[in-house]
Symmetry: C2
Subunit: 601 residues, 2 copies
């Protein structure tokens, strides 16, 4: 059975040493609450909860799955009890605002906890996971009454939330939704329609479920400009705010999925369910993006968590499994064979996992500071800068960390050889669970269009410049640092190339809009590598400075990993740069019919 | 439910037009049997069998899995009946030698059939799949009596075969096996030990199972030089050659796997089972490689088949699913949205699948000619050349086609978006089934060491030169062909670079053997892309020549796919070339302990 220990030492490196979180927190309003001692205690307690409560339910939850009976969904054994402990421990309210019962700690802290939850039990984590987005949507767009009724319950975790967007015929293209909202005499709306792929749509963990539902008003304009957002509780709150009358929303069936078996992915039927408009009519898409952006970062963290979990177990196995002798001669002479970690290709796989997990952690925590600053920055300029960077990096976090998370979990299986394919080792479950992260909350392709089309090109490259300028300054500041030359020189070159490639696509796109889609995924992956190169260079700098003390081995390993990233992963940018420049021609030449001429009769 | 049609038109292109199989067959002894009409009839009948008999059992077999009860294994519903039809149709004996009841058709024909079987139902295909290797081992190394007793039955398919190699503590490193073979008074051996991961180790499809088992004699030398091969039948043949007394071999349990659920992957316990030595004592490894090389090519074909199956279904979905408008403006104006095949990134994914499937097919059929020629070449020189090329390309076929097969099946899921994760669509099963192909019969890492260490460097690059010289000649012959310039120029450059990279690793390896392992996987993947580039250039030449007739659309699509391969996949060689050159340094620097300093307390 796989083990998992939250990477507390690495988190301390990223947060305390490299990204200076103590100073960052000290500057936030109320940030004095997040003192190093408090942060440390929370991380340790979170690590314990993940390992002792959630991890033991991960494989059993996968095997058991969820059960729908008489409209009620039973989560796997132990899930409900774990959720009770989660609520009692005060975890759901950690970084929520005190006004609504939250503990007022910075959002970034919640993101660290998220990594631990996803690494130990992703399927369980998806029950409370969507509540954050639902709460955020209500906090930003809900009426005072809606906040009073729903927000506190969501923050406390006694109720959970969902995002009801997708319908059978549309996922990415929400302008096509058919769910209808008809105004009722009492100011509420009658919601009717079918939603699919609703994570935690129905379950027995919480006493009520708050659905946030996209639907169309009778007179709504066509397409995405005619979407409104509604809050539709499973049980209508009574006068005291407790769950009252059952609403007209029910789980029609559970999806059978490749992974995250422990989470109930529901078809939800709304049959004249009573809903309440959130925000202005026909402005639902903006509200939806409030939820969606939170959720997208959350999915990126899932990719990171699964990469870390797979790395840890592959490492233990690679040290333990004896097979063949090192090509350069026996290493464990007293044993019948050498542990497979002596073999360079096994090390390549482990280091790939390690570099993606540790690099992903830096990216998540770097982005987490922006999340903190978007609302709590000291002045408008700081808040605006954080918002631009967060907007730019959200699709990178979502897509790059799930693509690399999938690769890392697959490397984990590969380290185990044939045993990786066997369920009892738990490595294949990580692959199956990771597979959804490249799909939900917008596929990698959708993220890539968001990055290149909306964030980069629509701002004429200005948003990108905010980030590349920061990288440029870092490179300039370290230009004379001989110890870092192996990192700074290639980083500076890549950073310049990033601008050139962007310009190149931008020029082509003026003549043919398809050039954006043709370059987009390679562009996003390229952006991910350059972003991680920047963060790995900063990590190398930090490690270099800290050499010479008691923890020399830790800092040396950090430098070695940075070096591996630069030498053995960063060259992938050479391929992506060429493919970005290759243009749309070879993609658009063939007619849809001609694709199938090899097999269609 | 997924559909599958054998790509008969594409096969005709590869076999009849590009690789001139009719002339190839005409030169083989007895090749006149494989006339175009016969070949065509076989392919059409095979296509029908795959689609009508095997395909309908693929999803049900996955859901149902196998059942072990009282030592007997029941394959999923319908598998036994399908196997009966397979035997009655004469499929097992297609390319076996007439001497042992075979139909004497060239082995390459069996390989085409294999693709169809793997594409429609890999789990089912693994029941007869291992028989070929077992038969080959007996044909090459068995005594006349063993051939008479077992070979005809295997060829007819009334019995099936297994390869019993792996034990709980060793897979790659077979020198460590513990299974013992003690000589008995009657000249047979008592075999005792436990084998794991035995595909089709026990089942109800055939009346007997012929296990080929690696074990050690009491006085065997240490390591891989002390391995012997034994044939151990489930039922000992009686005087008439029919299944008689039950032998001391039994299935201890079935593995629970990520995929190929319909195949029984068994733990096999040998408890003083009666076995018969195959070949010379302690020379089992050579016999084993006879089986293994056949099996490795077979696994490469599995990767190809799954890529094709995923491509076909993703294409149908992409034409059907309406979502968003094309960036360049609406295409299906009468519909609420455009089919997603209008989007360049969806096309990129489909073309990736198509280029890998069609390119993989060329590689398999190119290799298949070598398989035909190894035994049936007209003179020693031709046979030797075929053997060298086959040895060189076997690890490439195995590893490159399974790595790209896994990528292609994942692209198929990605085209389906969230629906790709749902079991009923069948796309995720292809990913789960494909995952094992990167592992069994030697992981990608093992193949890479075989290619770079054993095949390329051990021959001082001479084996590689046989192939690069062929590519060089092709490039020279087409140097003035203006129509092909976009292919020939980069191919010639890559072909030269391949030699340089090989030399570079070779020089480094003289000082440090770990350099071989450090470069090996990137080297294999690089080799795969260059090999496919050569074949795609030949395909482009063929298509170019055939333009202007009734099937213009087919040839134009072929050229477009070649162009896509060169522009959007071949640039990956830029990354691999750099990583090959990066050396072992960054892989070997860290101590095994220091890998875990981020999370180990």
């Amino acid at each position: 059975m796989p083990d998992y220990q939250a990477p507390l030492r690495d988190l301390r490196f990223v947060m305390d040493e490299m990204l200076e979180f103590p100073a960052h927190y000290a500057r936030l309003p109320g940030g004095e609450e997040a003192s190093p001692d408090v942060v440390s205690a929370i991380l340790e307690e979170g690590a314990r909860f993940a390992r002792e409560v959630l991890l033991p339910l991960n494989r059993s939850g996968d095997r058991e799955g969820c059960l729908l009976e008489g409209g009620e969904v039973k989560a796997p054994k132990g899930f409900k009890e774990a959720y009770r402990q989660y609520v009692e421990g005060g975890w759901p309210s950690l970084s929520a605002e005190p006004e609504f019962g939250g503990q007022g700690l910075p959002p970034s802290l919640g993101m660290v906890l998220s990594e631990m939850i996803c690494a130990s039990n992703l399927a369980w984590g998806m029950y409370p996971g969507l509540s954050h987005g639902a709460a955020d949507a209500l906090r930003h767009h809900g009426s005072d009454e809606q906040k009073a009724t729903y927000l506190t319950k969501l923050v406390e975790g006694v109720w959970t939330g969902t995002m009801c967007l997708t319908e059978p015929h549309c996922g990415t293209d929400l302008g096509l939704i058919k769910t209808r909202a008809v105004p009722a005499a009492d100011g509420s709306y009658d919601i009717t329609g079918t939603k699919i792929f609703i994570s935690a749509g129905e379950h027995d963990l919480a006493e009520n479920i708050v659905h946030l539902v996209l639907a169309k008003l009778p007179d709504a304009p066509e397409g995405s400009k005619g979407i409104s957002l509604f809050v539709v509780p499973k049980f209508l709150p009574d006068a005291d705010g407790n769950p009252g009358e059952r609403n007209g929303v029910a789980c029609g069936s559970l999806e059978h999925k490749m992974g995250i078996h422990g989470n109930a992915t529901c078809v939800m039927n709304f049959d004249n369910a009573k809903g309440f408009l959130v925000g202005a009519p026909n402005k639902g898409l903006a509200c939806m993006f409030t939820m969606m952006n939170v959720a997208r970062i959350g999915v990126g963290i899932q990719g990171l968590g699964l990469a870390e979990a797979s790395f840890q177990n592959a490492l233990v196995y690679a040290r333990d499994r004896l097979q063949m002798r090192a090509l350069s001669g026996p290493k464990a002479v007293d044993k019948p064979a050498d542990p497979i970690i002596v073999h360079p290709d096994v090390r390549r796989m482990l280091l790939t996992q390690k570099a993606f997990a540790e690099g992903g952690r830096m990216l998540v925590m770097y982005t987490a500071q922006m999340v903190d600053l978007v609302e709590h920055g000291q002045d408008a300029a700081e808040r605006e800068r954080a918002e631009l960077l967060l907007g730019l990096l959200t699709p990178v976090v979502k897509a790059f960390l799930t693509e690399t998370g999938f690769e890392a979990t697959n490397e984990g299986v590969q380290v185990f050889g044939g045993h990786g394919f066997i369920q009892e080792w738990g490595m294949e479950q990580l692959v199956r669970d990771a597979r959804i992260t490249r799909l939900y909350e917008g596929t990698t392709g959708v993220q890539a269009l968001d990055l290149l089309g909306r964030k980069v090109l629509m701002s004429q490259g200005e948003t990108l410049k905010v980030f590349t300028k920061e990288i440029h300054k870092f490179c300039q500041a370290e230009a004379d640092n001989a110890e870092l030359k192996e990192f700074i020189a290639p980083l500076a070159k890549l950073n310049g190339e990033w601008g050139d490639l962007t310009m190149g696509v931008g020029v082509k796109a003026m003549h043919d809009r398809e050039e954006v889609g043709a370059a987009s995924v390679d562009y996003l992956i390229y952006a991910g590598y350059v972003t991680l190169a920047y963060l790995w260079a900063r990590a190398a700098k930090q490690a270099q400075q800290s050499l010479g003390g008691e923890e020399d081995a830790f800092y040396k390993a950090k430098l070695d990993t940075a070096r591996f990233f630069y030498q053995r992963l960063l060259p992938r940018t050479r391929a992506h740069a060429q493919m970005i420049q290759a243009g749309a021609g070879s993609l658009m030449a063939m007619s849809a019919e001609d694709f199938g001429l090899g097999f269609e009769i």
